[in-house]
Symmetry: C2
Subunit: 228 residues, 2 copies
DNA sequence: CGAGCCGTTGATATCACTCAAACTACGTGG
DNA sequence: CCACGTAGTTTGAGTGATATCAACGGCTCG
């Protein structure tokens, strides 16, 4: 059982697998290193397998013909991505680019399918992983269609603060420009909204560090019960 | 092998399963009948299993506090839905309501998980089904974030015409109001866009029947290369 | 110190939502 | 068969949110 196997053992996707299976996964995996700003794959390309981030950050995005960009998700260490083409066949539904120098593993389709067929627990984990992503998408669609930018931002900040455990301190893990892309809005709009929020005493902004000063108000905002 | 088993055999989800397994699924299934407008479940409710539409139509939607509604998807005969809570646990990510009198089957979580564990082929089918939905979501997010309403409508009409096989005739299978909800826009806006498109000679509208008169122009529109 | 990236701010344009009202199609019951 | 109610659809006027264009300030890194 090597380092990679141990790393895999901590991932949700490989939770509860026997060591032998973990080693099998580790043997099938190809390690990939990329510097910041590298294109991992493009929408429409033929896909050969699944990626898992080990270190660094990867953005998954779609580009409009006019150059505008929607970031669908940003993945960090331990998170798998590009599962879709593995099971559905065909090509990548979106593009991927590193936001930092990153180390990833690539699991070829063939190996993964074999592993899944031989281990129902892994298959269940994979189904759970895809389900989590579907749930995230329903929230994302809801946010884009039903909420305005300030509500989306409020929801995002609250979400990050939940996830990180800290009740009122949020350290953005991406540049504000990227955050705008993630929220489906323009950089300038995001800037203005942050301004309004801090003017209104809801938050305090200091670079990438944001303090939530008035959590109840932020929750009302996210729920659409009040406006800025 | 009864009627239900035969119906199941035609579904993508149960493709390639031996008869014995199909019968097992059919035995586990509970048939449900609902009249038009019935609420199947609400977002946040505890979920017990998977639904498959046999006849009729079901909309999956999210509601904003102010009453506005985003339809995430509309499912018809043969399509499964509400898989997410089965594998991820917990509750429904959205609500479901029948748009017509409908007959559905309900597969309890327990039975489904057992079947999946015992049959890798079924698990692979399920992974493929979830992947297809993820792919659809990426397109939906892209459309909402990057495209304007006329582009979304054009893309939708072209998509339906592809799917139905008819090159230039589209028969809407939902009311225009529902279509607006599906495209993430207001009913009035959709009406105006249809007006503009037919004024511009791109389409002809007659109730729910829409003829695509200028397909190249519609494709340019959908791609964002021209405007209305 | 200059170049480039990131972020902010202002002015303007426009898309699409809201509100309000009327009009159509359709099925039901009198 | 017609009157009526309901659901669906259309149109108009007004408004608001956000994208876009443009310019500038600050920070970092070579």
């Amino acid at each position: 059982m090597n380092d990679l196997s141990r790393f895999l053992a901590d991932m949700a996707l490989f939770q509860g697998l026997p060591d032998a299976q973990l080693d099998a996964v580790a043997r099938a995996a190809v390690t990939v290193e990329r510097t910041k700003g590298a294109l991992l794959f493009s929408e429409g390309e033929e896909a050969g397998g699944l990626y898992v981030a080990l270190a660094g950050k990867v953005k998954i995005f779609k580009t409009a013909p006019d150059g505008r960009e929607m970031i669908i998700h940003i993945y960090g260490p331990g998170e798998p991505f590009a599962e879709v083409p593995v099971f559905e066949g065909g090509n990548f539904p979106a593009s991927a680019e590193t936001l930092e120098d990153s180390r990833l593993i690539f699991l070829p389709r063939r190996s993964l399918v074999d592993l899944l067929a031989s281990d129902p627990a892994l298959a269940m984990n994979m189904l759970a992983a895809l389900s989590r992503k579907l749930r995230r998408f329903t929230v994302q669609v809801e946010n884009l269609a039903l909420k305005e930018s300030p509500q989306r931002l409020a929801a995002y900040l609250l979400d990050v603060s939940e996830r990180s455990g800290k009740a009122s301190e949020v350290e953005l893990d991406v540049a504000k420009g990227h955050l705008a892309g993630l929220l489906g809005t323009a950089q300038e709009t995001l800037s203005r909204i942050l301004r309004k929020m801090s003017d209104g005493g809801l938050i305090a902004v200091s670079g990438r560090r944001i303090s939530i000063l008035d959590r109840p108000a932020m929750e009302d905002l996210a729920a659409g019960e009040i406006r800025l």
